[in-house]
Amino acid sequence: MTESTEPLFDLSLTEEQRITRESMRRFAESEIRPLSRKADEAAAAPAGFYDQVAELGLSLLAIPEALGGAGVGHKPLSNALSAEDLAYGDMSLALGALTPLGFINAVLDFGSEAQQERFLTPLADEKFVAATIALMESRATFEPSELQTTARKDGSRYVLNGEKSMVALADSAQFMLVIAQVEGEAQPGAFVVSAGAEGLSLQSENYMGLRPLSLQRLKLQNVVVAESDRLAGGALPFNLQRLVDLSIIGLCATAVGCSQAVLDYVIPYVNERIAFGEPISNRQSVAFMVANIAIELDAMRLLVYRAASRAEQGLDFHEQAYLCRVLCAERAMEIGTNGVQLLGGHGFTREHPVEMWYRNLRSVGLLMGVAAV
């Protein structure tokens, strides 16, 4: 094969990615993991945690230089790698750390220059400023393209009504991108609602896992949004599918990081745990479970990388994101439950993190709209 400018099939990191990964991973191991259990028990991120996250510059990087950021732009692949690395420390805290970035990416993709200035400048802060996306609604067959939350046009403004669920960081978000069915239009629209808007109320809810993520219900009763706060198109026309797919990639990337945590935790455990006179890892049923975690985990990872890389290259990535979700939802849960199984009764106690990972990994099959990379 002669040289060509066309990209080769490649699994190597760029130098920049390698350096970023190293620092993300170090942060995950030294700063996040030690907080993980406490955050889960408290169902809240530890005080000051997100400000520490802000120092990593996830939000700043993406925001245009003119608005106070680093102007790297929307980089789904690099973001997915960070999601994976942070989630190695803790999946909930990683998703929380990435939540404003999801909002920022949506504004970068779909917002006008004026909107970018208005909504991104406040986020370009040394401190963590939360912003989020409100997409899901609480019913068993929720489908993002079939929303019950509505936006009715009324002169130069929209009136929003409905109820959103699983809105991450809803209690601290300065902006929320509310996705609603626009009356008289075929496609849903995206509306930036500011914290404290009239008619907006929050209802805290507890979940099986991702407890520190502050997933809340958001009620909208005649919430008024100026027409200028609707993200009606910028670099790209508004595209809910794209937004959902990027959030799926982000979520799946955190599932990869969390699953890797499971693998790295069970290996020494099964090697050290003695039963029937030998390490339990000398038993095929144990060893094969570990092997399968590694196999499925690597498959998950490669699907995430492919979807993210396509997104970053500007190729279609809907199908890839879809398959990513299908594989990760199934396999991440398998890894979660086998992680507990490998520790036996001990795995069921909160002395070990595997039970928390089990609970967190169940979200991969159902969560949408969070942490769009």
Binding site: S165, F276, G345, E355, M356
Partner: protein, 406 residues
């Protein structure tokens, strides 16, 4: 005659248990999941007395019936084992954690029923007995017990540490596995009843757990803990030849033949509970699993439900079979492990799947689905993990010893 329907007589008991599950357990299930470590929930105290009374009247699962059922050639019997499966399923349907917290009926009681003398059954039958087998170093390896029992005059002196004793804190007594002589292996392992408050017995801690949070799971330390000589279950003799040794340990292990189907029943109850809620939530959205079209011409959600129902039904029938065999005096070690293996994994699969397909409702504490998905996990672990059950089944099928098939 082959008939796999539940006879009306048993249905009555089943319905009673269901009413307890739905009327008593369900309304307080979330509350006690959240509270976690607490004294026995008040709501259960009266229930415990009622159930104990029922047990003694023979309504629920007394040992006398169990003995009768052992006699063969009396025609087919549907006895205490089958009854136990049915009622356990319904109670676990309500809340498995609360079921395990009802004072009066512990796993230790099952052990006493299985291997105790009539005298012991009477004496300890009144107590709420926990079971303490596992030790910090031994997990599923029940034969590796390090806790020792030494006879000193008229008393046994126990030393060692036990973990994962369900109701070990709230119970009136604990059935403890201990070895009379470590060098003699399995045959020297005996079980002993230690009443609460006996000096030298100390509850070290109650575990923080992912699920079954209302049920107490205690770590207990025995330091020169002295109990009456008569508190040993079964013979104090240590079998001398290999065959007899195997049998002796087999006797201890036999308890599992009764308890494993009961634990399988817990999985059945939890899984059915999850599946029912899921079907209700889906029906609200117009998705009805009505068996109208073939599997692959159905919707994805219908297909998932059909698959879950099919596997649950398989687990249920295997469990009923194991219990029926016990009722009819047939050896059922293999079948007890088969139903535990199938129900354990199916219970976990179903509850997890239900959370997934109900989306935010499944994952939220608004419904019990997420709780069932937490509770179900331990059922595939305790009373012998999935892997241990498979080992047992495989050894039976392949005619292998535990040294050949490790």
């Amino acid at each position: 005659m082959i008939n796999l329907e539940i006879p009306k007589k048993l249905q009555q008991a089943q319905q009673m248990a269901h009413q307890v599950g739905s009327g008593v357990f369900r309304p307080i299930a979330r509350k006690y999941d959240t509270i976690e470590h607490c004294p026995t929930p008040q709501e259960l105290v009266q229930l415990g007395m009622m159930m104990k009374a029922m047990r003694q009247q023979g309504g629920g699962g007394n040992s006398e019936k169990g003995e009768k059922a052992e006699k063969k050639n009396e025609g087919v019997r549907n006895g205490t084992n089958l009854m136990g499966i049915l009622s356990t399923t319904e109670l676990a349907w309500g809340c498995c954690g609360l079921m395990l917290s009802v004072p009066g009926v512990g796993l230790g009681n099952a052990a006493i029923d299985a291997v105790g003398t009539s005298e012991q059954k009477v004496k300890f039958g009144k107590l709420y007995c926990a079971m303490a087998i596992t030790e910090p170093g031994c997990g599923s390896d029940s034969a590796a017990v390090q806790t020792t029992a030494r006879l000193d005059g008229d008393e046994w002196v126990l030393n060692g540490e036990k973990i994962f004793a369900t109701a070990g804190d709230r119970g009136d007594a604990v059935v403890v596995w201990a070895t009379l002589d470590k060098s003699l292996g399995k045959a020297a392992i005996k079980s002993f009843v230690v009443e609460k408050g006996t000096p030298g017995m100390e509850v070290v801690r109650c575990e923080d757990k992912m699920g079954l949070r209302v049920s107490d799971t205690a770590a207990i330390r025995f330091s020169d803990c002295r109990i009456p000589k008569s508190n040993i279950l079964g013979s104090p003799d240590i079998a001398t030849d290999a065959e007899a040794r195997k049998k002796a340990f087999g006797g201890v292990m036999q308890t599992f033949d009764n308890t494993r189907p009961m634990v399988a029943a817990m999985a059945l109850g939890v899984a059915r509970g999850a599946l029912e809620i899921t079907r209700e939530l889906l029906e609200k959205e117009g998705v009805k699993a009505d068996y109208a079209k073939s599997l692959y011409n159905s919707s994805a959600l219908q297909a998932e439900i059909y698959r879950m129902e099919a596997n649950l039904e398989g687990a249920r029938l295997l469990t009923l079979k194991a219990a029926w065999m016990a009722d009819n005096g047939q050896p059922n070690s293999k079948e007890a492990s088969m139903c535990k293996a199938k129900a354990g994994r199916v219970g976990n699969d179903i509850t997890l799947k239900c959370v997934e397909i109900c989306g935010s409702l499944g994952y939220s504490e608004q419904y019990l689905l997420e709780k069932f998905a937490r509770d179900s996990k331990i059922i595939d672990i305790f009373e012998g993990t999935q892997q241990i059950q498979q080992l047992i089944v495989a050894r039976h099928l392949l005619g292998k010893s535990s040294s050949e098939l490790k």
